[in-house]
Symmetry: C2
Subunit: 110 residues, 2 copies
């Protein structure tokens, strides 16, 4: 299951939002084996515009993710920071060309 989340954040909430998204992405990839990738970028020319590439092992892994404490904390904590959110279901062009996020590196930075 591969999705793009497109998030626009309120400018005065940008730093707080980034801190919360960082925490959520790090914890998810580190402790949820079914969360294969949560790779977030912001646009250089529009720093409040984020795109998150989300790859889940399957829909069960995605549903489990929605029930985690860290996701719920992120979702409720950022509710008033987000100006708009678009979730775009996608199809990978080359399913066998997988990407894997390096959660080992995360542990080193803790």
């Amino acid at each position: 299951m591969v999705r793009l989340a497109k998030v626009i954040v309120k400018p005065d909430q940008l730093e707080q939002y980034k801190a919360m998204l960082k925490e959520e992405a790090e914890v998810s990839v580190r402790i949820e084996p079914g969360v294969l990738t949560l790779y977030a970028v912001s646009e250089k020319e529009n720093p409040t515009h984020f795109t998150i590439l989300e790859i889940y092992a399957d829909t069960a892994a995605y549903r489990a993710h929605l029930q985690t404490r860290h996701f719920i904390d992120y979702k409720t904590g950022t509710k008033n920071m987000v100006k708009s959110l678009e979730l775009v279901e996608t199809v990978p062009l080359i399913p066998e060309m997988q990407i894997k996020q390096d959660s080992a590196a995360l542990r080193l930075t803790k």
Copy 2:
């Protein structure tokens, strides 16, 4: 260097475009060490809308990529298939949380 390429393809050229993008992405990741990721998705509801997450080791790797035969073949070959192209420079939220595309899997499928 992390970028999003947003491509909209002419509907009647969709299959030909996908074949050319597949070839280009596969070859680039397989033979160019500086091309860390070329991960392309199309939108389920708008199959002609592609987003490509492009991660290059540095700008030198990107410039070298532009000179490769496979990139030039893709660029010239798809010129008339593309309705619009937007290149968005981005900043990764968590630079140390790298992703790596699995080019070993590609060799198995060849």
